[in-house]
């Protein structure tokens, strides 16, 4: 914990600041912004799947819920500050309910995947069918498949006419991602985070140690949804429109692929995977030779076959082999020591 504040936080901020400075020279900030937002979305699943062992097929549901909450609240309220907060709270509350139902019901992995998938589908179908004028929340029409355009975008708190857009919006999103990253890093170093990792490793054991596994999983699930919701609100501001496609199965599947390619069980992996694959998709979208989804599929298959742990762990172990010092005892050394200690055991 001590090295977290003195080493990890400054190092993270330094690297992030360098990236924020250099990247706009290579890629336009408009594209970069969405890469950062996808990074945050990938990070949200990376947290609950990679560290909590909860494979959620419906992370897009929380993403879309965050975006819609923002859009609807922004139309009704005007100023963007409270809608931003609501976009975090509503998906978190929804996930807490859904999670409590699943985790107290002791659902195992496969059923968990099915339920989250179905919830995404239901939301997608429901939102798509709200074209009629009777679907109104306050002043906001849900708009069915056309979505909701024309809501108040991000402004300086309390000053609805000072919009944050363009380059400043990119910096805003990037800084939010850094803050979320640091908060999650701190969470994972705390007792709660360490027990969450224990639950990922062996749920029964953690329960037998006296921890309430269902409650802890529900909380973690809800935190993941809050981050996805925030990403959704940022996405709504970036696109200036929200459509049911945010809830689509394709979106959900993509988030899972980001995590696998980037590296599950690492913090930076899902962010790198998300930004990298989304940028690739953007580049490929400018040509029509190869189909986009086909290529994403090929990349996934190649990674599962040749780099099953993902990009970041692979680079990490390469780094260790080339430059790292070996910290562990060599195995034969352990045996020797153990042999000696048998006498007073």
């Amino acid at each position: 914990m001590a090295t977290f504040w003195t080493k990890e936080v400054p190092a993270t901020i330094l690297v992030a600041a360098l990236l924020i400075w250099i990247m706009p020279m290579i890629v336009g900030t408009f594209t970069l912004t969405v890469l950062v937002i996808y990074g945050m979305l990938g990070f949200s699943l990376g947290l609950i799947w990679g560290f909590g062992g909860i494979l959620c097929f419906g992370q897009a549901a929380f993403f879309g819920l965050g975006a819609y909450t923002y859009a609807i609240a922004a139309i009704n309220i005007g100023d963007s500050t409270i809608p931003m907060l609501l976009a975090i709270l509503v998906p978190a509350a929804f996930a807490a309910l859904l999670g409590a139902m699943m985790f107290y019901g002791r659902l195992t992995d496969v059923y968990l995947g099915v339920i989250t998938l179905v919830v995404t589908l239901i939301l997608f179908k429901f939102i798509s069918s709200t074209a009629g004028p009777e679907y109104v929340i306050g002043k906001a029409r849900l708009g069915g498949f056309n979505g909701i355009p024309g809501f108040q975008t991000l402004n300086v708190p309390g000053r609805p006419n000072d919009y944050i857009y363009g380059d400043p919006y990119f910096y805003f999103c990037a800084i939010l991602l850094i803050i979320v990253y640091l908060l999650v890093s701190w969470l994972l170093k705390s007792s709660f985070g360490r027990v969450a990792i224990g639950i990922r490793e062996n749920e029964v054991r953690v329960a037998l140690m006296g921890y309430d596994v269902s409650a802890r999983k529900t909380v973690l699930f809800s935190i993941g949804a809050a981050i996805a919701g925030l990403a959704g609100a940022l996405f709504a501001n970036w696109g200036e429109i929200v459509t049911p496609n945010l809830f689509s199965l394709g979106q959900s599947a993509e988030i899972i692929i980001w995590c696998i390619v980037g590296g599950l069980g690492t913090r930076i992996g899902p962010i790198v995977g998300a930004a990298g694959l989304a940028y690739l998709k953007f580049l490929l979208g400018q040509q029509s030779m190869i189909d986009n989804t086909l290529l994403t599929g090929i990349i996934l298959v190649l990674f599962v076959l040749f780099l099953p742990k993902g990009l970041v762990p692979a680079i990490g172990s390469l780094w260790k082999v080339s430059f790292g010092r070996r910290r562990r005892f060599p195995r034969h050394g352990v045996r020797r020591l153990r042999g000696r200690s048998v006498g007073h055991g």
Partner: protein, 250 residues
């Protein structure tokens, strides 16, 4: 709750810490546990033996909350714990080791033991406790090794470490000596004897040599019910027991 438990522990050494009344568990038509009345006093060491399918493990799972009994009741230090979840039972201060090794394979020995201690202690106290347990169980050289890389005997020892780290007043162990070498079994019985200084211990076990080495009172299960209950030497001399259990070996 810990305070109440502590006070109760001091007040009377002969107090009953674990009791079941008419505990019955049915799986469809099979009666795995049949009307078991069981009593355990504070500081007692008790072994549950019996042939395969005698209902030892089912009884064990009903006490620990891994199974909910079909009928009957379980009491622990005055609480009725029938139908509680395992985490609630463990939260009372009951240390549990299951038959199948249950450990966090991706984490190292220290992290495993720390987590068990952290449930009942503050962060710095848990760190201290974990180091202390590691020293006591001679796990020092492998403290930073992942559980997945350890040998079976070491893993069993770490799992006992998890139990010890929580300072339980009741310890429930399902086959702690299974598949261990003679050296490891010897070490295991030392640890268990040490445990009995502060806790009542229930052990489900097959290994008669191990049971003799810890020389305790034995409850014999047969077809889901309790056949007899006595000191290990008298139980082994009993013709009925020899018939249902030991007779099969000879």
């Amino acid at each position: 709750m810990a305070c109440v438990a502590f006070a109760a522990g001091v007040s009377g050494m002969a107090e009953t810490v674990l009791e079941t009344a008419g505990l019955t568990m049915r799986f469809g038509g099979v009666v795995a546990s049949d009307n078991v009345d069981f009593k355990l006093k504070a500081g007692e060491l008790r072994c549950l033996i019996g042939p395969n399918g005698a209902g030892k493990s089912t009884f064990f799972k009903c006490i620990t909350g891994l199974l909910t009994p079909t009928s009957g009741q379980v009491f622990m230090r005055g609480y009725e714990t029938t139908g509680w979840n395992p985490h609630q039972v463990a939260g009372l201060g009951v240390g549990i080791k299951t038959q199948v090794p249950n450990l966090m394979d991706g984490l190292d020995v220290f992290e495993n033991i720390w987590m068990a201690a952290r449930r009942f202690l503050s962060m710095p106290d848990a760190m201290r406790k974990a180091s202390e347990v590691i020293e006591r169980l001679a796990l020092g050289p492998i403290a930073r090794t992942e559980l997945g890389r350890l040998a079976h005997g070491e893993r069993q020892r770490v799992e006992l470490g998890l139990v010890v780290a929580a300072d339980p007043w009741l310890v429930l162990l399902d086959e702690p000596a299974a598949g261990m070498s003679a050296d490891d079994v010897e070490r295991m019985s030392t640890i268990i004897r040490e445990m009995t200084r502060t806790a009542a211990v229930v052990i489900v076990e097959h290994d008669m040599q191990f049971i003799r080495s810890i020389a305790s009172t034995v409850t014999v299960f047969h077809q889901g019910a309790v056949l007899m209950e006595d000191h290990v030497d008298r139980v082994m001399a009993d013709p009925t027991v020899r018939n249902v259990y030991l007779g099969k070996k000879a």
